[in-house]
Subunit: 236 residues, 2 copies
DNA sequence: GCACCTGTCAAACGAAAGTTTCAAAACTTC
DNA sequence: GAAGTTTTGAAACTTTCGTTTGACAGGTGC
């Protein structure tokens, strides 16, 4: 179990992925070095290029693994009867999977980095964001079918923004309000639901400007192919 | 005016700062290279180490310049009579200075990067966020003095989150809703104000749990000293 | 036992990074 | 104009990066 060569194939591979996830989350694609990753994984320098082709392929694989849990949580059916209940259910699913403490912390951090950096693997991020946007759009339209198209976009963005903030920028809130205890998952879901639903009820329809909401949510279709770059520098 | 050496001292320095701002915003601290920066600035490679000590000192200087405009816009007095008016005024000041088209785009991008990366210059970010948090907290307390401390935090965070989203993650909204025209600054301020105020009116006070709001906003005090690292590697 | 494939290891590779050097050019001061 | 300071220039420096190499240890099938 602890010998140097003992069918370690998948073991070393997984240790590399875990170490790479942590270090990529800490320092980003450019800031992390293969020597750091292999050192933390307890593996040889050449192991990255052996198990994965190059650094960037390891990065995209790690990123894909980080975003999978969130993406699949978004596809579960909503069972609540009322649109208000479905809003809450949707937010609960999003935040629960995103803040799941059993998952390693670098999952959030990596996705957070990618949401900012549109460069390396933007299509993966679209996979994450598309379903919540679609479903939120639909539920919001059930509650307030009289809003303009732009109001829909701004409202959905506002709800998503609150979730994204607590998921990806929680450290800011913790730093700005050090005296206030951090909210539990339940409290978070309750507050954002109540806050957003109250706002939705009080919003005035902006009749004149903008078209009415279309029958279908005008959300970007996903790039299912997920066109991947071959190398970060396109050298080989 | 276009000769090789013509009192270029501060000229080269400023060109370096501008070029560094753009490239740092594009690629981050690690991704940007001094060769790229000096090439875009039309200067020699050694000029960065001559005018600034090293790469990191140039980075912090550029970051400080990027955040100054936003920080000072937050200190202007609020003139509106009603608390609701002051909320709108506050949001308008924040978004106007943050989205001011006359400022170079890399100001936003750099701050956006730093909001994510807690590593290099976190105190600068606190300078940016502290005043909006304080003032929002106070105005929200005027409107709804019955809310619990945690509800205040969540509400202020929610309002800030909407602003941050449109300032720093606008590309996500544009990508997710390609059919909807991006909102103007005026529309944005109107919507976030109306949305948040409607939510604030409809929020139920959570009486039992959490203490009531204190007389003073429990916002983190700024680190005025802004302790700066001497070098990215601490070598010399 | 032999060939074969899989993994691991230490070492080295070329490229690119940040930094330093030093001479020449421009500017300032007298 | 000469001396001294400031700024620029091209080149080289050291370090570190991602990647490659080739040898060697384990496992497997014949």
């Amino acid at each position: 179990m602890d010998g140097p060569h003992r069918g370690n194939g998948p073991v070393t591979r997984e240790k590399l992925i875990d170490a790479a996830g942590e270090i990529f989350a800490e320092k980003g694609l450019h800031g992390a070095s293969i020597r750091d990753i292999t050192k933390r994984a307890g593996a040889n320098i050449a192991s990255v290029n052996y198990h994965f082709h190059d650094k960037f392929e390891l990065y995209t694989l790690v990123l894909r693994q980080a975003h999978e849990g969130v993406a699949e949580a978004m596809n579960q059916p909503l069972r609540a009867d009322t649109p208000e209940g479905r809003v809450r259910e949707l937010l609960s699913a999003m935040l629960t999977s995103a803040l799941d403490p059993s998952r390693p912390k670098w999952h959030r951090q990596l996705v957070s980095r990618e949401l900012l950096d549109p460069t390396p693997a933007l299509d993966l991020m679209q996979d994450i964001m598309q379903r919540p946007c679609e479903r939120l759009w639909e539920v919001v339209r059930e509650i307030r079918p009289d809003l303009s198209e732009q109001q829909f976009m701004l409202t959905v963005s506002g709800v998503l923004a609150q979730c994204l903030f607590h998921v990806h920028h929680g450290h800011i809130a913790r730093r700005m309000f050090p005296g206030v205890s951090g909210p539990s998952l339940r409290t978070l879901v309750d507050h954002i639901s109540e806050f957003s639903l109250a706002a939705l009820r009080g919003l005035h329809a902006r009749g004149s400007r903008g078209r009415r909401s279309p029958a279908r949510a005008p959300v970007a279709r996903p790039t299912t192919g997920a066109k991947r770059r071959k190398s970060p520098r396109g050298k080989g």
